[in-house]
Structure formats: structure tokens, C-alpha cells
């Protein structure tokens, strides 16, 4: 995602802003291969007066983006959520943060303060039960609340109520130094540390007019692929667990632990904290470690392949996943689905392909399941394929990194020209384990003036409720939950 000096923020009035957004909405054609334009970010700048809506539209074919801004000078503005469901939650967020009312919003209620709002069931009639679940629920999970409307075992409707963990991270960042905010970026969603930090750091470097060295970009990508490995292992393990495959669960959890230990040995933190820094240099001398990394990856890969193939040949596992939690293709288009969840619906989208095309040189291939039923089994299959692609990418990135001279690259900010611009806007878009992550920053003399975060999970969560109520029964919920593998922390921020 590039924002060249000539292509600055376009300040529009609200009508023009709405027209531009609706033209993007039309790009999400029903049933098409992938949209020609994507909504990367939608949010509000609430530290300026009057507050202003900000939208970033990505052009996947060129990797470029258009930046649109419109001031909310009145107390109300016309909601687009009734024609574009992807804006349902973001518009509610704008309402919560600024008090401005989106007129015509179909379901306006407090989103960021779940303790101030009581959900009530949507279905009524004989035999309908409302079943609350959470925020504290079985097993070790993040906190979120779900209200099921059921008839017998059948789930008729599911309303998720999230944002229990809203920490106001974007607001906290305003006025802090770029380096201090890096620590916050690492803690938006712990299991996506590398993804969020890479997106943030890319945005900051772009805003500062800094040209990132190739070796640094390769290293960041390598960390992100390592993160994808342990996340996919985690999700596959959880799917095995939800379908009662205890040996599969334990063995794939073992693979996850081996990936975490590898990350810990490489960077000193199992979750890759401190590994990615703005204006940084390559953190590791890869020549010294690449053979060890390759050996340990090979062992993890062999174990993964063995147990995945066992899972794929076990009828009780496959039967449990097939046809469960189907995401209809219409929803995928309406809500702008991203990541493995979108690719399991047959949508050819991946931020690596669209915004980091160089990754195809290091072995990236897009994984889309041919059946594209959008069910739990397809989400499983996409992750299985992506695991292998990530292994291949890490091998290829390692051979590049090992052939570059670490000493030359480790001069860091002193060796390469540091930030050249003191004020500016920048954007970073990467493919995290759950899908596309976009960060938008405004930097002013080394401090953050505005920070916008759109995690992958924030696009997928609204579809989760629909897919759960799509002809499933109560006992399907754990399987659907595991197959989506969403982050609460990444949405809540």
C-alpha cells in the first residue's frame, strides 16, 4: 500500500464520500473471483474537531490505495450499513466514539460498552428458547458473550456481543512516540504479534518516507509466516479437539509448541515480541541459524503432515466438519470477508498477493479450495494447504537471508537513511494468520497523531453469527468456533 505525495488524503463532503464508498461496494460483485477494489480501513478520527470519517480503499491489482476523508460536522450522517452490511459494526463504533448518529442504521446499539447493553432474543413463539453463553465459558477462551435463539437443538439466530476487552488502544497511542506505540501494536492480539507489528511498522515507515531495506522486509515476512504456522497448528488442533480427536489434538498442539519454541529461540520471545521494530535492521544473523531452523521446521512439518493425513482419512472427523457452519457466498461478498475464511468460500484474496506481490518470488501460492462450500471442512483444508505454503516460503526466505551479509544490514538506522519526512500519513497492509490486517497512521515529528487498526477478525466476526445459525445445532458450535479461529482481542482492541 503506497501513498505517494501526489496521492494525498482526499477531503470530500459526506455525499461524495458515500458515493465513493458505494462504488467500492459494487466492486464486491456477487460470486465474482475477487473484488477489484477493497475496503481496507473504515473508521473515525475522533481527536480532531469536528470528527472525520476516514476510509482507505485498496486496489489489489496495483497495490495502491485511495484515501477518503469526510468531516462529520452535523450530529447525524446517512448510514450506508443498510446497503453494505460490512459497515454495520464500524458505523456503530463511530457512533460510540463520537456520539454522531448514523441515520437509517438498521441495528444501532452500544458496541464498545457491552456492559451497558442487554441483548434480547430475536425469535419468539412456542418452543423458542434464548440461551446465553459467556462472557466466561467452558475451556480456556477469550471473553465474549453469545445469545442463541433455539428451537430444540436447532440454532435459529445467534447474536455475538463482543468488545468486553476494548482497551481503547488507538486512543492511547495519540501523542506517544513511534517506538512506544510499537509495544502497543505487539499487544493488540498476542497470537498475531508479528502481523499487527509488521502492519504498524510498515505504515509508520511509509508515513516517514523511509525506504525499508529488502532484507528487513524478508525477515518480517519470515516472522509472519512462522506466526501463521503456529496459528494454523493451533486452529487445526482446536478443530480436532472439537470433534473429539484427542490424539490429533495433542499431536498438533505439540507441533504448535515446537513452532513457539522455535520462535522463542530465534527472537527471545515465543510470540515474536521485540522482533520487528520501526526503521530497524535485520535482527538475526541468519547464516548462523538457518540450518537449525530448517531441521526443526522439517521435523514439525513431518509430524503435521502425518497427523493431518490421518485426520483427513478419519470419517468421524470429516463427517463432523463437512456442511458445518457454512458461510454463504453472498455473506462473504456483503461483509468483505478476508483470510482463510474467505478463501474457503472460493474468493481469491490474500494481502500477500495483492499488496506484497514480491512474495510470489519466495514461494507464495494462493490457496483456494476448489469445492468452495464455505464449511468447516473447507476452512480446515485451506489451513492445511497454507501450512505447506508457509513452510516453503520460510525455506525460500531463509536461503535469501542467509546469502545476504548480516553485517551490512545490521547498521540499522545509522547505515541507511532514517525517516526523511517529519509529518505524514501512512498505511500498512499485511496478511496475518486470520487474514488481512490494515493499519493507518498519522505521524507528527516522531509521535503518533492518529492510529487506525482493522484486524482480520473485525471483518469476519459479523459473519460468524450468521454461519452459526445456518442450519446448525447447538453441538456444532464448538466446531464452528474452532474452524473460524477468530481473535477477540484483535477485534476489541
Amino acid at each position: 500500500m503506497r501513498l505517494s505525495p501526489s496521492q494525498t488524503l482526499q477531503r470530500l463532503d459526506l455525499d461524495a464520500f458515500a458515493r465513493r464508498l458505494l462504488s467500492v461496494r459494487r466492486a464486491y460483485k456477487r460470486g465474482g473471483p475477487a473484488p477489484e477494489r477493497q475496503l481496507l480501513y473504515y473508521g473515525v478520527m475522533d481527536s480532531v474537531n469536528p470528527p472525520a470519517l476516514l476510509a482507505v480503499v485498496g486496489h489489489p491489482s496495483s497495490g495502491r490505495s485511495s484515501w477518503l476523508q469526510a468531516e462529520l460536522s452535523e450530529q447525524t450522517w446517512r448510514s450506508l450499513a443498510d446497503t453494505w452490511p460490512a459497515l454495520l459494526w464500524p458505523e456503530m463504533e463511530v457512533h460510540d466514539r463520537t456520539g454522531r448518529v448514523p441515520e437509517g442504521h438498521p441495528d444501532l446499539h452500544p458496541l464498545l460498552k457491552p456492559h451497558m447493553h442487554t441483548l434480547s432474543g430475536r425469535a419468539s413463539g412456542a418452543g423458542v428458547f434464548s440461551l446465553p453463553l459467556g462472557p466466561v465459558r467452558a475451556d480456556v477462551t477469550e471473553s465474549g458473550y453469545f445469545l442463541f435463539d433455539t428451537i430444540g437443538e436447532q440454532i435459529m439466530h445467534l447474536q455475538p456481543q463482543l468488545f468486553y476487552k476494548h482497551r481503547g488502544i488507538e486512543r492511547m497511542a495519540v501523542g506517544r512516540t513511534v517506538e512506544d506505540v510499537t509495544l502497543l501494536a505487539e499487544r493488540i492480539s498476542g497470537t498475531t504479534t508479528a502481523g499487527h507489528t509488521a502492519a504498524y511498522v510498515t505504515a509508520v515507515e511509509q508515513a516517514s518516507g523511509y525506504a525499508t531495506p529488502d532484507a528487513v522486509r524478508w525477515e518480517r515476512q519470515l516472522f509472519m509466516e512462522l506466526e501463521r504456522l503456529y496459528n494454523h497448528a493451533h486452529d487445526i488442533s482446536q478443530m480436532a479437539s472439537a470433534s473429539g480427536m484427542t490424539v490429533g489434538q495433542a499431536q498438533v498442539a505439540r507441533v504448535k509448541e515446537e513452532c513457539l519454541r522455535l520462535a522463542g529461540d530465534l527472537t527471545g520471545c515465543r510470540y515474536l515480541r521485540g522482533a520487528i521494530k520501526p526503521f530497524g535492521s535485520a535482527a538475526i544473523d541468519w547464516r548462523a541459524v538457518s540450518s537449525i531452523v530448517l531441521d526443526r521446521l522439517a521435523a514439525a512439518d513431518a509430524r503435521m503432515q502425518r497427523f493431518v493425513s490421518l485426520l483427513q482419512r478419519t470419517p468421524t472427523f470429516v463427517d463432523r466438519l463437512v456442511g458445518t457452519g457454512i458461510v454463504n457466498r453472498d455473506w462473504a461478498d456483503d461483509y468483505g470477508l478476508v483470510g482463510p475464511t474467505a478463501r474457503a468460500c472460493g474468493i481469491r484474496t490474500d494481502a500477500r498477493l495483492e499488496y506484497a506481490p514480491w512474495t510470489s518470488d519466495v514461494g507464495f501460492t494462493l490457496c483456494v479450495v476448489p469445492r468452495a462450500n464455505g464449511d468447516a471442512l473447507d476452512r480446515f483444508e485451506v489451513r492445511v494447504q497454507e501450512w505447506s505454503v508457509s513452510i516453503q516460503m520460510i525455506r525460500s526466505l531463509l536461503s535469501r537471508l542467509a546469502s545476504t551479509n548480516h553485517a551490512e544490514n545490521s547498521d540499522g538506522p545509522h547505515g541507511s537513511p532514517g525517516p526523511t519526512v517529519s509529518k505524514g500519513w501512512g498505511g500498512g497492509t499485511v496478511e496475518g494468520p486470520r487474514g488481512r490486517i490494515s493499519h493507518v497512521v498519522q505521524v507528527d515529528h516522531g509521535r503518533i497523531a492518529f492510529w487506525g487498526i482493522r484486524s482480520a477478525s473485525s471483518w469476519i466476526w459479523p459473519v460468524f453469527g450468521l454461519a452459526t445459525a445456518n442450519g446448525n445445532i447447538q453441538t456444532d458450535f464448538p466446531v464452528i468456533d474452532a474452524s473460524f479461529g477468530l481473535s477477540y482481542a484483535g477485534l476489541d482492541r
Binding site: 476487552k165 498476542g190 498442539a253 522463542g264 527471545g268 510470540y271
Partner: protein, 297 residues
């Protein structure tokens, strides 16, 4: 198919750690250790830039002109390790940093109970005075032998609980790295079931409440309700810097305060996130203290 699974499971061998009976298996750098920084010696200054370097305010100077790292607030960013001109900070090489709640600073807070509105403050000052006496120095290259400490703890744990300790986990605002580490306890490497520790679905069946995350206003009543639902005597273990102190989120407008401002805490497990070894250590320490837990039932 069942036979295939059985064969594949057995063929993959045993990898479970012998910790806490034996020392933890440590790898190349320090991922099995708590990645917190610790001071190694005094520098003779009264104040220094390391105080500003620390993003969570974990460093303070004591009266002997030595900087003190508050383990409860250290997120392991390494800025002091890299930035100190005297080089007196080092990575901790301990895994049993869990701090029982009876050191002096937490004693007074224990009775505090439910937070009075408006009285929330980051308690960096009070914490800093209490963590100076962490066991062991950090200069040894080799990992010290933990057996002596832990077999005693383990014996007490067995005596009180037999082989059944039920843990209810609650996330009150974490980034989900802590959840990932808590979940890792049940993987084959750590397999905490071998120690008789289990997760339970309901707080009504729980002996221990394991709290992670920076407490948000939305989760405060949920935490109190969960704590209320537990049978007495009950234990509370707070894990991770966010729960102990607030860490990077201490200035958030949504942050209520450290967990022990809201409910009494028995053991604190530092780290961002705490490693599975540290979590096992903390849970065992908590369990061994159950007799005392009756006191604040």
C-alpha cells in the same frame, strides 16, 4: 482407523517435561525462562535515564543507589538491557518468579476488597518496594536446580489436594497471548494433568481462579460474579503483567486497575506472557497455600 490413531500416538513417543521434579528443559536463549529484566548490581546513581527507558515504569532507584526492576511490571521489552550505559541489567534466568501475596506490599491491599470508585492508581511505587528480594542472582550461566524448592511445594500440594486441583480461567482484557500459554499447559510437552491439575467449565467447581489480562470496566462485574460463584476456600492466581500491574495498558481509560485492587490475589505470576513453566510453578505455589486461603474465605 482407531488402530491407526493408537499406533501413531504411541509411535510419537514421550516428550513431557519432568518439571517440577527435574529442572525445566531450557533451549538456546531464554524462552523457557521468564523474559523479564533484572538488575545485577548497583550503579551508585540516584537516578538515571533507565527510568525513562522503561515503558511501564518498572524501574525505580532504592536508597542504596541501585536500580530495582519490579518484576510485576516488566514486559520484557529489553530496553534497559540494551540501553543502560553501565550494562547492569540482564535477562532473568529464573522460571519460578511467582510471588506469593504475603510480601509486605500486597498485604495491605489484600483487605482492600472491591475497588472504591475513583481510587484506581497504578501502584508502581508500592510494588517496587516488595520485589527486591527475588530468589537467586542471575549471573550463573547454568540454570539452578529447582528440586529443593519444588519438591516441598509439591509435597504440600499433594497433601492438601491429593491429585485434583480444578482451575477456572478468566480473561478480563488480555491480548490473548496469555490464553495461548495457559492452553499450552495441556499440550504433551507440559501435560499438567499429570500433576492433577484440570480446567473446569464452571467457577462453581473451581479451587483456583486464574486471571489474565488488563481488567476493563466491561469485565469488572463479570470478574466479581465469577469470584462470587466459587466455593470457599478459594484461591486466586493473577498471571501476566496486565493482570498484575496493567503494563502497557495502565494508562488506558478502560483500565480499572490491577486485579488485587478488586479481589484478593494469592499468587502473582509475572511475564508478558508468562511461560507455561512459570504458570505450573505459580499454580503449584497457590495450591500449597490452600490452608491459608481459608483465612480469607
Amino acid at each position: 482407523m482407531l488402530a491407526n490413531w493408537l499406533r501413531a500416538g504411541i509411535a510419537s513417543g514421550r516428550i513431557t517435561t519432568k518439571y517440577p521434579r527435574n529442572a525445566a528443559e531450557l533451549t538456546q536463549r531464554h524462552p523457557a525462562w521468564q523474559t523479564v529484566a533484572t538488575e545485577t548490581r548497583a550503579c551508585g546513581r540516584e537516578s538515571c535515564s533507565c527510568i525513562d527507558l522503561c515503558p511501564t515504569g518498572a524501574i525505580a532507584f532504592d536508597t542504596t543507589h541501585a536500580p530495582v526492576v519490579n518484576a510485576l511490571a516488566c514486559i520484557g521489552c529489553g530496553r534497559c538491557v540494551e540501553g543502560c550505559p553501565e550494562g547492569i541489567f540482564a535477562w532473568s534466568k529464573q522460571i519460578d518468579l511467582s510471588i506469593p501475596a504475603d510480601n509486605e506490599w500486597s498485604g495491605s491491599q489484600r483487605q482492600a476488597g472491591v475497588l472504591a470508585d475513583g481510587s484506581v492508581a497504578a501502584n508502581a511505587d508500592t510494588i517496587a518496594s516488595g520485589t527486591r528480594s527475588d530468589r537467586g542472582t542471575l549471573e550463573e550461566e547454568a540454570c539452578p536446580d529447582w528440586n529443593a524448592v519444588d519438591s516441598a511445594t509439591l509435597r504440600r500440594f499433594r497433601a492438601v489436594f491429593g491429585r485434583s486441583l480444578n482451575v477456572r480461567h478468566i480473561d478480563v482484557g488480555s491480548c490473548n497471548a496469555c490464553e495461548s500459554e495457559v492452553l499450552a499447559l495441556s499440550n504433551p510437552y507440559y501435560n499438567f494433568h499429570r500433576l492433577g491439575i484440570f480446567f473446569t467449565a464452571s467457577p462453581r467447581h473451581a479451587d483456583v481462579l486464574l486471571v489474565t489480562g488488563a481488567l476493563t470496566y466491561a469485565m469488572r462485574d463479570v470478574l466479581l460474579a465469577t469470584y462470587e460463584a466459587m466455593p470457599r476456600p478459594r484461591l486466586v492466581v493473577a498471571a501476566g503483567v496486565c493482570a498484575l500491574h496493567g503494563g502497557v495498558f495502565q494508562d488506558s481509560e478502560q483500565f480499572v486497575g490491577p486485579i488485587d485492587k478488586v479481589i484478593p490475589v494469592d499468587v502473582f505470576i509475572p511475564g508478558c506472557p508468562p511461560t507455561p513453566y512459570a504458570l505450573i510453578n505459580g499454580l503449584l505455589q497457590a495450591a500449597a497455600r490452600r490452608g491459608e486461603a481459608v483465612a480469607h474465605a
